[in-house]
Symmetry: C2
DNA sequence: CTGTTAGCGCTTTCAG
DNA sequence: CTGAAAGCGCTAACAG
């Protein structure tokens, strides 16, 4: 194992100079830089993470925990979120890994915490009253939740401003004269934000509970007229199902442009652009949201370390795009 | 941050005693153990991974790298593999994480290697001539490939004994009098092991190239009679597609028990049990295979460290189950 | 702009 | 059965 000392000797400089060349934390002459770099290349030296973490006082690593990695459907959103987190965290000079959770074993969380190699934890797919949240909190591990489970969440989190999103969507339904709105969702109960906004707009909501899959969307389309005769507008919280719904609707005698308006709110930009032109979306950039989540995580870790009590509390990502129509963006009619 | 020193002081013992209580590497009196444990509980002490890795001389951590986490389909096999690795690695006292790979960026691999916080790497979903393999090798990072990409692979790997598997499957076809065998696969070219075994049995193989999804299986069933009139036996290398094939076959006028025999070879036990009784399987325990992969990985890491030159080379998992019929196991007719 | 040095928290001899 | 002490490789003062 080559160490910093070997490099220093070869380059004819002190050990700390090597460190500073690597970290860039103090000015180094070009000549010295060059020699050190040459020595590094020659020896194949690689910095030792453990030593750096120990000496630096904190592990420059964040851990993602998500419980749905191997459970279908693997939403493209999940991928975008992971990529975004990696980018945001890296931007702050940290690294990130995913902690593998066995489906049926919460003890993995203990292990991670016990291990203590990670400076902070990003929780995804939290459920109502998630035990992991309480554990993380009581263990005083810096963490942030990406997509929180309920209103009034009292820990660090990053999420879309759903109230604003729903307002955009429902106001459009209202303007088009719709009165009964179907809600395509994977949850058995109505989203409380949506309920609140609908009340303000005096719109009736009907739950269209279905799986987030092409099949789920298709079967929702199949039963649509029978089950929801009054519904003329549909807001979809499911990115895959809505595509299934739209593409299979014609097979079940649904003429989408005439019969109803459809708005998807939980879609990536790319997904929005790939669906049929009749559908409207309030698309969002999951990657970007996750990226800021990554940054916040690192800030929280460093705040904790320096105990500067820099408040890193509720972070509500309010940025979203109001897509009038994907067709419009696409240059279509 | 409570350290080992705090615990030692509170328990009235030396620092090293605390270490030995934790590691169990030398006999400690029950009384001392109890006092140390009490002090640990009281202070909420957690061992520092970085310090342990540094002092211990090697990072007790392995990293999994898989490129298909967020690309459909998320085979149940993937989940089983991850869980198995975690178990195997943990059995040896190591931990494991997943390294998040951006879909389109190989540089992530460099970062991981540069980071040097992981004792070894388990590669999954390697492709033909995978650049990661060469990188890992040239960087001298211990690694093992789970499921290798081609015959004659010259690095550590763990995989099923496909030759044996194919022998079991094809011998059954032979015994039943089939002569033309369809191969349901996601690859555009015929598997070379399969080709070899078929030659021995004097069986003709026909490629049935399709996606590993329910839809893929369904469309294979739809075109089956037209495209492969002579085929009476099907061997499936795809766990999801075969289910789609079998369940949708009747819709396309295929009476499976009469017309042909079907054998799935890339299925988990649980999947095998859930399919229709007409199908035979040579099912396998992906979890168990991955578990031994985890153990091998750790052994390789430790071998490298102690340079005991314990040969950890080609490891061919030969264990597999010959399932005559799922119905039989199920207690069915 | 560069060198020297004191630790970070733990593991592991060596010495009882 | 237990303690004392020497590092692991790096970071970040401190001192030019």
């Amino acid at each position: 194992m080559t160490t910093r000392a070997d490099v220093a000797k070869l380059a004819g400089v002190s050990e700390s100079t090597v460190s500073y060349v690597l970290s860039g934390k103090r000015p180094i002459s070009d000549e010295t830089k060059r020699r050190v770099q040459a020595a590094i290349d020659q020896t194949g030296y690689k910095s030792n993470y453990a030593a750096a973490a120990l000496a630096g006082g904190l592990p420059r690593m964040v851990t993602m925990m998500t419980s749905n990695l191997f459970l279908a459907p693997p939403s493209r959103i999940d991928g975008a979120l992971v990529d975004g987190i990696v980018a945001g965290v890296r931007e702050r000079g940290f690294h990130s890994v995913i902690w593998p959770i066995s489906n049926d074993d919460d003890s993995d969380v203990d292990v991670l915490l016990q291990l203590n190699f990670s400076g902070g934890v990003i929780l995804m797919n939290v459920i109502e009253n998630d035990p992991r949240v309480h554990l993380l909190h009581s263990e005083k591990v810096p963490f942030v939740v990406l997509g929180r489970s309920n209103v009034g969440f009292s820990y660090n989190f990053v999420d879309r401003d759903f109230e604003a999103v729903y307002k955009v969507a429902l106001s459009k339904f209202k303007a088009l004269g719709h009165t009964h709105i179907g809600v395509l969702t994977g949850h058995a109960v109505m989203n409380s934000y949506l309920k609140k906004v609908a009340k303000d707009f005096k719109l009736k909501l009907e739950l269209m509970h279905t799986a987030n899959s092409m099949d789920g969307g298709a079967s929702a389309a199949k039963n649509f007229k029978k089950k929801h005769p009054k519904v003329t507008g549909i807001i979809s919280l499911l990115d895959i199902a809505i595509i299934g719904f739209v593409t299979s609707a014609p097979n079940f005698g649904l003429s989408i442009p005439k019969d109803c308006s459809i708005i998807g709110v939980n879609m990536l930009e790319e997904q929005a652009l790939s669906t049929v032109p009749q559908i409207s979306t309030v698309a969002f950039d999951a990657y970007d949201m996750a990226k800021s989540c990554g940054r916040i995580m690192v800030d929280a870790i460093e705040a904790g370390k320096n105990s500067k009590s820099k408040k890193v509390s509720e972070y509500w990502v309010g940025d979203f795009m109001d897509r009038e129509s994907t067709a419009k963006l696409d240059g279509g009619s």
